[in-house]
C-alpha cells in the first residue's frame, strides 16, 4: 500500500507543484521542457499505479480518500499520457504562436501554470473516492480552462469563454444539487459525515438507497455532468470553447475532459442502477446519446471552421460512448471503454495536425486550407489518417469499438440501430468530404512552411492502429475487470 500512496502522491503532487513553479517561470525558454518533464513523470507514476492495480486489484488509499480500480486507473493513465504528448506538441505550437505574436509573456506563464493545474484537477477527479470532491475537482477543471479558452483575447474567444463559463457553471450547479440529493439518500443508510459520500460505501449499499430520491438525483446529475460531456441539447458551449482556445487546450478538452465527465456520469449511473434495479438511468443515457450523435453528425455538414467541425465530431463520439454505457451489458460497456480510449488518442492527434495546419495558413477556415500532403506530409497524412480513424475505418481502433457497440445494439436494443447507423454514416460522409480538399491539391499561396511536432501525432496514430489490429492481453484483461465493476 505504501507504493500506492507514493504513486498517488507523485501523480497528484507533481502537477500541482509544477503549476506553482510555472506560474513564475512559465515564459522562460525552458518552460515548455519543464512542462514536458512534469507531465512525463506524472505519466510514469500513472503507469506504476496501473501496474499495482493490475496485480492487486482495486484498492483504497489515503485513508479511504482515494480509490483506485481498473476503471479510473485506466483513465488516469490515458489522461497522463495524452497530457504528456500534448505538452510535447505544445512546445512547438506555442513557440510558433509566440512568433506570430498572439501570446505574450504573462500569458505564457498563465498558460503553462493552468495547463498543469488542469491536469491536477482531472487526476483528482478520477482518483478521489468522495463524490463531493469529484464535483469540486470537475469544477476546478472547468475553471482552470475557462481563461485559457479566452487566451487570445479576440471578441470570439471571449464570447466562447464566457459561454463556456456560464453554461458549464450552470450545468455543474445542477450536478451539485444531484450530489446533495445523493448525500441525502446516503445519509439514511450510512449515517452522517464524510463516510456517506465515499463511492466505495455507496456502491456497497446501493441496493438500500431510496429509489425515488436516486432517480431524481440522477436527473440532475445527468443534466449537470451531461453538460460537461457535451450532450445535446446542453452542448452549446462546446464547439465555441474547443475551437477558440489554443490548440493544445482544444486537444485536452476534447480528448480528456469529456472522458472525465463521462466517467463521473457512469459512476453515478452505477449507483442509481443498484438502487432502482431498473434500466431507467440507462434509457435516459441512451436517449441523450442518440440525440447527440444525430445532431452532431448533421451539424458536421454545415461547418466552415476546422476546429469547430472536429468539436462536433467530439460531441458525436461522446454521444456514442454515452449511448453504449446507457445500453449496458458486457459487450456495450467493453466497446464504450475502448471507445473512450481510441477516441481520445485519435481526436488529440487530429487536433495536433489541425493546429499545425491552421498555423501554416494562419486561418481556421477550411476553404482556405489546401495542399497539406505536399506542404507538410506529416501534417497532411496525419490529418488524413486521423480522420479515417475517427470516422471508423478499419483497421483503426474506432472501427473495433463502434463495431462492438453496434453488435450490442442489434442484440439488446435493435430498434435504435438504424438511428445509430444513420449518425455514423452521415458523420463518415461529412468528415471525409470536408477533409479531402484540404489535404490534396496544390500548395496555396498563403501557406507557410513549418516544423511540426512529429512525435505526438505519430505515437497516437500508431497506438490507435495497433489497438485496432490487436488488443493486447493486459488491455483486454483491464477492460474486462472494468466491465465487471460497472455491472
Amino acid at each position: 500500500m505504501a507504493d500506492t500512496s507514493i504513486m498517488l502522491l507523485i501523480l497528484l503532487g507533481v502537477p500541482l507543484v509544477c503549476a506553482a513553479a510555472l506560474a513564475f517561470a512559465g515564459d522562460r525558454k525552458f518552460a515548455p521542457e519543464i512542462n514536458i518533464l512534469c507531465s512525463a513523470s506524472t505519466f510514469a507514476a500513472g503507469l506504476g499505479l496501473a501496474v499495482e492495480v493490475y496485480m492487486q486489484g482495486p484498492m483504497l488509499a489515503g485513508g479511504k480518500f482515494f480509490f483506485v480500480d481498473a476503471f479510473n486507473v485506466y483513465l488516469a493513465v490515458l489522461t497522463s499520457f495524452v497530457s504528456m504528448t500534448t505538452a510535447i506538441f505544445s512546445r512547438r505550437y506555442m513557440r510558433k504562436e509566440r512568433e506570430h505574436g498572439r501570446v505574450g509573456h504573462r500569458r505564457m506563464r498563465f498558460y503553462h501554470a493552468m495547463f498543469q493545474m488542469f491536469i491536477f484537477a482531472m487526476l483528482l477527479c478520477l482518483l478521489t473516492n468522495n463524490v463531493g470532491v469529484l464535483w469540486i475537482a470537475m469544477e476546478l477543471a472547468t475553471l482552470s480552462t475557462v481563461l485559457l479558452v479566452s487566451l487570445y483575447r479576440t471578441p470570439t474567444a471571449i464570447e466562447a469563454a464566457w459561454k463556456y463559463f456560464i453554461l458549464c457553471g450552470v450545468g455543474i450547479a445542477q450536478a451539485l444539487f444531484g450530489t446533495v440529493l445523493l448525500y441525502f439518500a446516503a445519509e439514511k443508510v450510512l449515517g452522517e459525515g464524510g463516510e456517506a459520500l465515499l463511492w466505495t460505501n455507496l456502491s456497497r449499499v446501493s441496493g438500500h438507497l431510496e429509489p425515488t430520491v436516486l432517480s431524481l438525483a440522477f436527473v440532475f446529475l445527468m443534466v449537470g455532468y451531461g453538460t460537461k460531456v457535451g450532450l445535446v441539447p446542453l452542448h452549446n458551449w462546446l464547439p465555441d470553447a474547443h475551437s477558440e482556445g489554443p490548440t493544445p487546450i482544444s486537444a485536452v478538452l476534447s480528448g480528456l475532459l469529456l472522458n472525465i465527465a463521462l466517467y463521473a456520469l457512469v459512476r453515478c449511473k452505477v449507483l442509481v442502477d443498484g438502487s432502482t434495479q431498473s434500466h431507467h438511468a440507462g434509457d435516459i443515457m441512451m436517449g441523450f446519446g442518440i440525440l447527440s450523435i444525430l445532431v452532431a453528425a448533421f451539424s458536421l455538414l454545415r461547418q466552415k471552421d476546422i476546429k469547430r467541425m472536429f468539436s462536433y465530431s467530439s460531441i458525436e463520439h461522446m454521444g456514442i460512448a454515452t449511448f453504449a454505457f446507457g445500453l449496458g451489458g458486457q459487450l456495450a460497456t467493453f466497446g464504450a471503454l475502448l471507445h473512450m480510449l481510441v477516441h481520445s488518442l485519435a481526436k488529440s492527434a487530429i487536433f495536433f495536425t489541425v493546429g499545425h495546419a491552421s498555423q501554416m495558413h494562419k486561418t481556421q477556415q477550411m476553404d482556405r486550407i489546401r495542399g497539406l500532403f505536399r506542404g507538410n506530409p506529416l501534417v497532411g497524412w496525419g490529418l488524413m489518417f486521423g480522420v479515417l480513424a475517427i470516422v471508423g475505418m478499419p483497421p483503426f481502433g474506432i472501427f473495433t469499438s463502434e463495431f462492438l457497440i453496434l453488435t450490442a445494439t442489434i442484440k439488446d436494443a435493435p430498434l435504435w440501430t438504424p438511428l445509430l447507423l444513420l449518425g455514423l454514416g452521415v458523420a463518415f460522409a461529412a468528415l471525409l468530404r470536408k477533409v479531402q480538399p484540404m489535404v490534396s491539391g496544390e500548395i496555396p499561396p498563403n501557406q507557410k512552411p513549418m516544423k511540426a511536432a512529429h512525435l505526438p501525432v505519430m505515437l497516437h496514430m500508431a497506438l490507435v492502429l495497433i489497438i485496432g489490429l490487436y488488443i493486447p492481453d493486459f488491455l483486454n484483461q483491464w477492460f474486462h475487470t472494468a466491465v465487471g465493476l460497472l455491472k
Binding site: 463559463f165 444539487f177 446533495v180
Partner: protein, 221 residues
C-alpha cells in the same frame, strides 16, 4: 430553543431568501441587485447558524461564517469595485418583461415544490420543507441568467443559484461534510476572481457588458 419556534424561524428565513430571489428577478438597478444578493447571503448564513445550533452540528457554524464572509461581504464588495471601475451603466434591460418574469418565477416555485415531494416525505429533519424553496431559488437564479442581457446580472444570477444550492444542502441534509463545503467555497472564490477578470476583458474588447454583443459565434449557413 423550542423546536417548533426554530422551525418557524427557519421557515421565515427561507421565505425571506425566496423574497430576495424574486426581488433580484425584478430589480432593474445594478446596485439594488448587489444589495439584495448581500441580504440573501445574510439570511442564508443566519439560517445555517440557527440550524447548526439546534441540530448540534458545529461544522455548520463554520459554513455560516464562510457564507457570511464570502457572500455578504467579499463578493458584493468585489462587484461594487468592478462596477465602479468599469463605469457600467446602472440599469439593466430585460429580454422578457417584468410581470411575465414574475409569473414564470411563480410557476417555477410550484414546479420545484412538486419535484421535491419524494425527498420531503422521507426526510426527518426540521428543515425539510425548505428544500422546495431552495430548489426554487436555484431555478429563479437560472431564470435571471436567461432573461437578462447584462454580464453582471448573469453573474449575480449564477451566484444566487449557488446560494440556492447551499441552502438545499442545509435543508436536505444539515449541510454536506465540511471538506465538501470548503471545496465548494473555494470554487466560488476562484469563480469570482475569474469573472472579475472576465469583466475587464469583455469591457476592453466590446466596450460594453451587453451580452447581445457577444453573438458572433454561430453556424454559418
Amino acid at each position: 430553543m423550542e423546536l417548533t419556534t426554530v422551525a418557524h424561524i427557519n421557515s421565515f428565513l427561507a421565505a425571506l431568501v425566496l423574497l430576495t430571489a424574486f426581488g433580484m428577478l425584478v430589480q432593474k438597478r445594478i446596485y439594488g441587485l448587489i444589495h439584495l444578493f448581500a441580504w440573501q447571503g445574510l439570511f442564508l448564513s443566519l439560517n445555517t447558524a440557527i440550524v447548526g445550533y439546534v441540530a448540534g452540528k458545529h461544522h455548520l457554524y463554520i459554513s455560516s461564517l464562510l457564507t457570511l464572509s464570502l457572500k455578504v461581504i467579499l463578493l458584493p464588495y468585489i462587484l461594487h469595485v468592478l462596477i465602479h471601475r468599469l463605469k457600467i451603466r446602472k440599469e439593466v434591460e430585460t429580454i422578457v418583461n417584468i410581470p411575465m418574469t414574475m409569473l414564470i418565477g411563480i410557476a417555477l416555485v410550484i414546479f420545484s415544490y412538486h419535484l421535491t415531494a419524494p425527498v420531503r416525505e422521507l426526510s426527518t429533519l426540521i428543515t425539510r420543507s425548505t428544500l422546495a424553496i431552495a430548489l426554487a431559488t436555484v431555478m429563479i437564479g437560472l431564470l435571471m441568467m436567461i432573461t437578462r442581457r447584462h454580464a453582471v446580472t448573469q453573474i449575480i444570477g449564477f451566484l444566487a443559484l449557488e446560494n440556492g444550492l447551499f441552502f438545499a444542502a442545509t435543508s436536505a441534509t444539515y449541510g454536506m461534510p465540511l471538506v465538501v463545503e470548503l471545496g465548494v467555497a473555494l470554487d466560488i472564490l476562484i469563480a469570482a476572481f475569474i469573472f472579475g477578470i472576465f469583466f475587464f476583458h469583455i469591457h476592453t474588447t466590446f466596450d460594453s457588458l451587453d451580452i447581445e454583443q457577444m453573438a458572433r459565434l454561430r453556424e454559418e449557413d
